[in-house]
């Protein structure tokens, strides 16, 4: 386990990667920036994984359901050693392994393709069932966006997780209340999220998704919980830390200009890790 101070630096490294990659190409910066702390905790402290052997059966699994925020995933995979950091620059370009939405067949470390919303939890359930069947202690983490809860398949999968008592599964909801057409609760209200999950038989934890201490505590609670799946409702700010992006739906899928990117990098501040450094 890494300290909060270290993970704060990692968070900045991930956020700098997101801005740099997105600015040089296209992509979805808003949601990715808002989940940088979750990725820092998972990939650089929590997950038992071996980047040099991506198919090691004993690895904890991270299933990204809202594939459009893959900038955060790609940064985390490269920085933890799944592929060369230089390859990040190929994001969204032709012949790249870093597709606009993740492709499992192409890139080591990607557990499933995603992008079409609402499918990740079902896949995570299948992975969690497989671990139970094999008596393995592998944990399964699945990240979804809040707007994604409007997909019907999520509610099918929520029943399945609870019915099959998948206590090796943690679902993280990135609750920033923004989707493409506006505020989630204006487009199609999803609240109260916590009460809905409780009614479905889940272990519910609510946190400030930018507080690394709270994130750590939530995952500790998940690991201790028995007999039910855990949902971590992570309240975040879209475009967190970038003044002109925060809470603005337009930054869901828009890349910053060169000038905007410089401003963003200034606001994030230096992270203390070189641009090409692999963090072990």
């Amino acid at each position: 386990m890494q300290s909060v101070e270290y993970l704060e630096k990692v968070t900045k490294r991930i956020k700098r990667d997101i801005i740099q990659l997105c600015s040089a190409n296209t992509g979805h910066p808003g949601g990715a920036l808002g989940t940088a702390e979750i990725f820092a905790e998972l990939y650089f402290s929590r997950l038992r994984h071996t980047p040099e052997q991506p198919d090691w059966e004993g690895r904890d699994r991270f299933i990204l359901s809202n594939g459009h925020i893959c900038l955060a995933l790609y940064s985390s995979l490269a920085r933890s050693g799944y592929f060369d950091v230089e390859e990040l620059a190929t994001f969204r370009k032709i012949n790249s392994r870093l597709q606009g939405h993740p492709s499992r067949e192409d890139l080591p470390g990607v557990e499933t393709a995603s992008g079409p919303l609402g499918q990740g939890l079902s896949i995570a359930n299948g992975v969690a069932m497989a671990q139970k069947l094999s008596n393995s202690d592998v944990n399964v983490y699945c990240l979804v966006g809040d707007g994604e809860l409007q997909e019907g398949q999520i509610w099918e999968a929520m029943m399945t997780s609870a019915h099959h008592k998948l206590d090796n599964l943690a679902l993280i909801i990135n609750w920033n209340n923004i989707q493409i057409d506006g505020k989630v609760n204006d487009v199609m209200n999803i609240e109260p999220i916590d009460e809905k999950f409780k009614a479905f038989g889940w272990n519910v934890i609510s946190i400030d998704g930018h507080n690394l201490q709270e994130i750590k505590h939530a995952f500790d609670q998940f690991e201790k919980n028995e007999g039910s799946p855990t949902v971590i409702i992570s309240k975040t700010v879209l475009g967190n830390g970038i003044s002109y992006m925060e809470h603005e739906a337009v930054w869901h899928g828009k890349a910053p200009s060169e000038e905007e990117a410089l401003l963003a990098l200034n606001e994030i501040g230096i992270c203390g890790f070189a641009d090409d450094l692999v963090l072990k």
């Binding site: 499992r104 393709a113 499918q119 299948g126 069932m129 069947l133 398949q153 099918e156 999968a157």
Partner: protein
């Protein structure tokens, strides 16, 4: 004739054996266990059987998750609810991931019968074969369904296995070993090629016998694998016969007739007719009466065969 059995019975039997032989084989169902004949597996291996409830999209995703963890999941339901209800889940979680999921479906086509058009999948082969990485199997009888199920388990990658609901006589037992992508020739003939899949193989054989009485020798090919299609078998046969009739319990758009047309128009254009539903939904009724009403009979195949033979002769005369 030995007792009739449905394709799904052969599947149910193979699943029980696979369960015994390979502990990685698991099964999922969306509230139709007995209909799909996966209940024998469920009774014998309850810890490897996952009831998902009436939630086919979730079932396909869950199956993909199991496959990504090195299990060999068979996801079972009716054809309509898998290929069509969960189409995009099959595309992303199964095909794009190239996950080792076997989608085994019963109640495909008109022989679903009295349940009517809502439950009669007539477009599923078209949508499944259009997907990259997918293999599509349509066995002709219970023995072939048994063999196809075992072949699907042994094969690494996504498979769509379309099983019949109604009992048919044994046609393939002892004829030969089943191999994915390798058409099964039922008999030799020189005047016309009849290419059929699923329950229409039985009717193609009946059509062959009708044609024999008229002095026409028809070659019958059981095309149990729609994808990858056995191009060589199709081209080789028409080299000899010069004309083709396809027969399937599916729309003529995009299924067996579609793929045979594609192969022949590129490699060896010859007169061809497609027996199948003609861009229409089905309806309620007893299976046999429905097949008759929608033209999926031995008589219609024989009629089409005479038609393409005539066209072949006309073409030969006009070019001479």
């Amino acid at each position: 004739m030995a007792g009739k059995r449905a394709g799904r019975d052969g599947f149910g039997q193979a699943m029980v054996e696979l369960g015994e032989e390979n502990e990685k084989v698991v099964a999922l169902c969306a509230d139709l266990a007995e209909s799909v004949k996966v209940h024998y597996f469920a009774e014998k291996y309850p810890e490897r059987y996952f009831q998902i409830g009436i939630a086919e999209q979730d079932m396909i995703g869950t199956a993909a998750g199991l496959a990504l963890s090195r299990y060999i999941p068979f996801a079972t339901t009716y054809a309509v609810f898998a290929a069509q209800r969960a189409n995009e889940q099959i595309r992303l979680a199964v095909c794009y991931n190239r996950s080792n999921v076997k989608i085994a479906v019963s109640h495909a086509g008109l022989t679903t019968g009295e349940d009517g058009a809502t439950h009669q999948a007539l477009e599923d082969i078209a949508s499944m074969r259009a997907m990259p990485n997918m293999t599509v199997l349509v066995p002709a009888d219970a023995s072939e369904a048994y063999e196809a199920t075992r072949a699907a388990a042994a094969y690494e990658g996504p498979v769509y296995l379309r099983l019949g609901r109604t009992p048919v006589p044994e046609l393939t037992n002892g004829v030969g070993q089943f191999e994915i992508g390798k058409a099964r020739k039922m008999n030799n003939g020189k005047d016309v090629t009849l290419i059929a899949c699923g329950i229409m193989v039985e009717r193609a054989i009946e059509a062959r016998d009708i044609l024999k009485e008229k002095g026409i020798e028809a070659e019958v090919i059981n095309m149990h694998t729609i994808k990858p299609i056995d191009e060589e078998a199709v081209v080789e046969s028409v080299k000899k016969t010069g004309c083709v009739v396809t027969a399937e319990e599916h729309s003529v758009i995009g299924g067996l007739g579609g793929v045979v047309s594609e192969v022949l128009s590129e490699h060896s254009p010859v007169p061809l007719m497609r027996i199948g539903t003609q861009d229409t939904f089905g309806e309620s009724g007893p299976p046999e009466e429905l097949l008759t009403k929608y033209g999926l009979t031995a008589e219609k195949i024989a009629e089409a065969a005479q038609n393409v033979i005539r066209k072949k002769k006309n073409t030969a005369m006009s070019t001479n």
